[in-house]
């Protein structure tokens, strides 16, 4: 069993063929975390006891030759925004440092019911606010390809964990690129689903109208397998879609002959790193070779998507984060005597600077006299962005674009300039206001051996097509198979 290049497919086969037991797999994963994570810092919490116990139970089932469930014995990690019953869930923020949920998020519940074993909770920018995982209140996660570089964000811990074989896959959340960008920076596959396809119940909210639940995996095939498990309507989330879930694996090998792929000119702009540009060009040629037809298209409102995204997101943030008030759970200032002091002190000490920045800006955007100019305008722009996508998807089936304008940057390089950091999301935030899905795939490496990624974007509920195209690409390339050399 070689953990560094273990895919979900291989892990399931290994367990089924009894090449290794669930206990061996989980123990090896825990050992690997123990060895590697002091350098990478991907995990905020590791749960060896519950994981080993669950592994032993799985092995018992196997010994009694009972049929394995879809994910029996598979160790996985989850971004620390997913509520996990009895396991600390911090949102990487001091304000929830010791918060232990009493319930499981729906996605966690579904994975557990399918037999998957949670090995730990991964680091990220507090509440998902950031693109480098440097905004975590607890630790900075390092990119496994180069420990001086950021792993991307906000789900940097999840991407770094999967890239370094610490858990077979990771459950993550994408509000404006938080799955795709770190997947790209760490050379792994990341799926951001259609808004409403996967339940948000139990996931600590960032921007409720933008948040989507997805996975970071070693391959597209693995993502397709997992999506079939986590997708679907949830009576506990009124924004989930009622649509039945197709069999994503069935269409996976159909090939992409005749598929029309649009190259939005707003995403291939001056200023993109030349190495990124070159890898993208080669990827386009590869897709053409696979039978796709490519053409240049336009999404004219793309430049407006960034302010629309941030205004919508932070406005919702200002309300979503009001519950962290020191009254019922989380950090509560012990010195406060009066109610107002309790609010002020708990929030002043519990929230980091980026969180405060977004709460203040969001509060401002919703205030009387500014609502029309900011929040309302942003909603109108969202409508225009949606129209852009509707129009372009009448001409093409998918869009292909870079995930990030540049390869992974250095730790500390952008941390001092919040606006620069916000712009790191330039190619990923655009699709969230429209609610459409995106799939990030590795498509090359820089001279310095840093991963480069592309994203495929499709219309609402086009996950089947996205996964099919991504799988076709990965069948002919091996970028996704490369793993960082990590001397333990």
């Amino acid at each position: 069993m070689e953990l560094s290049d273990l895919t979900l497919k291989k892990a399931r086969a290994g367990l089924e063929n009894k090449d290794f037991s669930a206990k061996e797999l989980v123990s090896a994963t825990l050992e690997r975390i123990q060895k590697l994570d002091p350098k990478i810092s991907a995990f905020l919490t590791v749960c060896p006891e519950s994981a080993l116990k669950q592994a032993a139970e799985t092995d018992e089932l196997i010994a009694r030759s009972q049929k394995l469930k879809a994910l029996s014995g598979i160790p996985f990690s989850a971004k620390d925004v997913f509520s996990t019953q009895g396991i600390k869930t911090t949102a990487a923020s001091r304000i929830l440092e010791n918060y232990i949920p009493v319930y499981d998020a729906t996605a966690i519940k579904k994975l557990r019911e399918a037999g998957a074993i949670l090995i730990g909770k991964t680091n990220h920018d507090a509440f998902g606010f950031g693109s480098s995982t440097e905004n975590s209140d607890f630790q900075v996660t390092h990119n496994p390809w180069n420990l001086n570089k950021v792993p991307g964000g906000s789900s940097g811990g999840s991407a770094a964990a999967v890239a370094s074989g610490m858990g077979v896959f990771s459950l993550a959340e994408d509000t404006g690129g938080s799955i795709r960008q770190p997947a790209c920076f760490c050379g792994v596959t990341g799926l951001k689903v259609t808004y409403g396809l996967v339940s948000r119940y139990g996931v600590i909210a960032y921007g409720s109208s933008l948040d989507t639940i997805g996975v970071i995996t070693p391959s597209v095939e693995d993502a397709a397998f997992l999506l079939g498990i986590i997708a679907g309507p949830d009576p506990l989330d009124a924004t989930t879609m009622p649509n039945p879930i197709p069999d994503y694996l069935e269409s996976l090998n159909q090939g992409i002959k005749g598929l029309r792929i649009g190259l939005p000119k707003e995403y291939f702009i001056e200023g993109i790193d030349p190495e990124v540009k070159q890898s993208l060009d080669e990827a386009v040629k590869k897709f053409e070779k696979l039978g796709a037809k490519t053409e240049s298209v336009s999404l004219p409102h793309t430049p407006d998507a960034i302010p629309a995204y941030y205004l919508s997101g932070i406005s919702e943030v200002s309300a979503n984060l009001a519950r962290y008030d020191g009254v019922r759970f989380g950090y509560s200032s012990p010195e406060a005597r009066e109610l107002e002091d309790l609010y002020l002190e708990s929030r002043a000490k519990g929230f980091g600077p980026e969180v405060k920045r977004r709460i203040m800006l969001g509060t401002y955007a919703l205030s009387a006299g500014y609502y029309d100019a900011f929040y309302k305008k942003a909603q109108q722009v969202r409508y225009l962005i949606k129209q852009d996508f509707d129009r372009v998807f009448q001409k093409v089936d998918l869009l292909l674009a870079p995930v990030s304008p540049f390869p992974p940057f250095g730790i500390g390089e952008k941390a001092e300039d919040p606006l620069q950091m916000w712009l790191a999301d330039i190619f990923t935030v655009t699709i969230n206001p429209a609610g459409v899905p995106g799939l990030a795939l590795p498509c090359g490496f820089t001279k310095n051996n840093l991963p480069i990624g592309l994203q495929l974007i499709g219309p609402q509920l086009s996950e089947g097509v996205l996964l099919k195209a991504g799988h076709a690409y990965q069948s002919q390339t091996d970028w996704h198979k490369r793993r960082p050399s990590l001397s333990a």
């Binding site: 139990g202 909210a205 409720s208 009387a368």
Partner: protein, 447 residues
């Protein structure tokens, strides 16, 4: 200068649905052990999401229709942002610019029209309890009430005095009970009333609303609503006559001192930063769906009252008492059905049965309509066979006991019991005590 009151109402009604507004917890909270009816949703735990209660939405529309409102085709929930420990999410899910129902009206008995501005749905908050534990002052929160569906009716400022308010509120309470959507009990807090009161100059056109208003909170009975309005109109008139403008503020009703007291000055409107609730998709209603809800509305008290007067030839007084609760009205009609099967002289008129029900304070929970009719008939039988006889016996007893009769007339009313006993003994077991008493008193009066 003369001043006339301008009064509007904000009324909150807690709906009696099984479950809360946005989660599956039981909505019932009166006298329940604190913090036992809660879950991640109504405690505002991280990640929990609201799922709207369909029944509460239907019930709100039901009341809206009964108040002659227009039901919006598209409605939505909004977040109302403010911090308070009884508000676990830091925002209340309410409705801002697209309430479920708008533009209704109610006509009072004297013909005064009260316009209904809107009827919307929101969630109730938890309850704070200020207490002392181990000698230290502290505040506790009970979240059982958090997330209970709360309906709000807002009227236009169309009331001219406390009597109109009283009539409207009693009608509304009865309507809510008829619709079966709440017990509308003010003592339990399932009906809360906040009058807005100001005074306008009599000479100015009615359309011109004064430039201030006073809101009164913490009122827990209809009587106190009346008193608060009367107190405020007096207080404000005195200020205006001195040339002062009353402060725009929220005042509370102080039961002990029989007056309103200033709670906080509303110098500027609180900025609640309303925005659409992103966790709940907008609500859409087709005309068919609204028609379906309309079908669930039973005959309302006002219509029933009219029908009773017309169909059963009752006086407005009788009808008014009988329709007070739907149960009593239904009971009455049930009794009439039983009565309808009876022929001849044993048959009683609807009015007689109404009087029997009203005057004898019949407990309709323990007396079946069949038993009631039997009792009415029995009483008539007594009356029919012994009316003349009874009169003769009473005269006889009074003559035999002339001293007792004289004592009674001097004010020694206790002897009445003795006299009744004497008459009953002569008549036997069929005696109708109430009737005997009535006649005895009558006779003693003219003796």
């Amino acid at each position: 200068m003369e001043f006339k009151p301008v009064i509007g109402l904000e009324i909150h009604v807690e709906l009696a649905t099984q479950s809360k507004m946005f989660c599956g917890c039981p909505a019932y909270h009166f006298g329940v052990e604190p913090n036992t009816h809660c879950c991640p949703v109504c405690l505002g735990l991280p990640g929990a999401l609201p799922v709207p209660n369909k029944k509460a939405i239907e019930w709100t529309i039901r009341l809206g229709l009964a108040l002659n409102c227009r039901i919006l085709e598209e409605s939505k929930f909004d977040r109302k942002n403010y911090f308070y420990p009884d508000l676990p999410k830091g925002y209340q899910i309410s409705q801002y610019d697209q309430p479920l129902c708008v533009q209704g009206k109610v006509i009072l008995k004297e013909g005064q029209e009260i316009r209904i501005r809107r009827v919307h749905l929101e969630e109730d908050t938890g309850k704070l309890l200020h207490t002392e534990i181990d000698g230290e002052k502290c505040s506790l929160v009970d979240f059982n009430r958090s997330g209970v569906p709360l309906l709000e009716v807002v009227t236009e400022p169309d009331f001219r005095n406390s009597q109109e308010v009283d009539e409207f509120l009693k009608d509304l309470q009865r309507m809510v009970r008829y619709l079966g959507i709440s017990d509308a009990d003010m003592e339990k807090g399932s009906l809360r009333i906040e009058p807005n009161i100001s005074m306008r100059e009599n000479t100015k056109p009615k359309i011109q609303i004064p430039n201030y208003k006073v809101e009164v909170k913490n009122i827990n009975s209809f009587r106190f609503v009346r008193k608060a309005i009367e107190y405020e109109t007096k207080r404000q008139t005195e200020l205006l006559e001195k040339g002062e403008t009353p402060l725009q503020e929220t005042r509370g009703w102080n039961e002990a001192e029989n007056k309103t007291v200033s709670q906080r000055e509303k110098e500027e409107a609180h900025d609640y930063r309303y925005f659409p609730e992103p966790d709940i998709p907008p609500l859409n209603f087709t005309p068919e769906e609204i028609a379906e809800i309309k079908k669930q509305i039973p005959e309302l008290p006002e219509e029933k009252e009219k029908r009773f007067i017309k169909e059963f030839k009752l006086s407005p007084y009788q009808a008014g008492l009988l329709i007070e609760t739907k149960k009593l009205a239904d009971y009455y009609e049930e009794a009439l059905k039983v009565n309808g099967k009876i022929d001849g002289r044993k048959y009683s008129s609807p009015s007689e049965i109404a009087n029997w029900l009203i005057n004898r304070k019949i407990d309709i929970k323990t007396t079946s309509p069949e038993k009631l009719i039997k009792d009415v008939i029995a009483s008539k039988e007594v009356m029919l066979v012994s009316e003349a006889e009874m009169s003769r016996i009473i005269d006889e007893i009074l003559t035999e006991n002339s001293q007792a009769a004289a004592d009674y007339k001097k004010g020694k009313t206790a002897v009445l019991g003795f006299l009744i006993g004497q008459v009953v003994r002569k008549i036997g077991s069929q005696a109708d005590r109430q009737e005997i008493t009535r006649r005895l008193i009558e006779k003693l009066g003219v003796f």
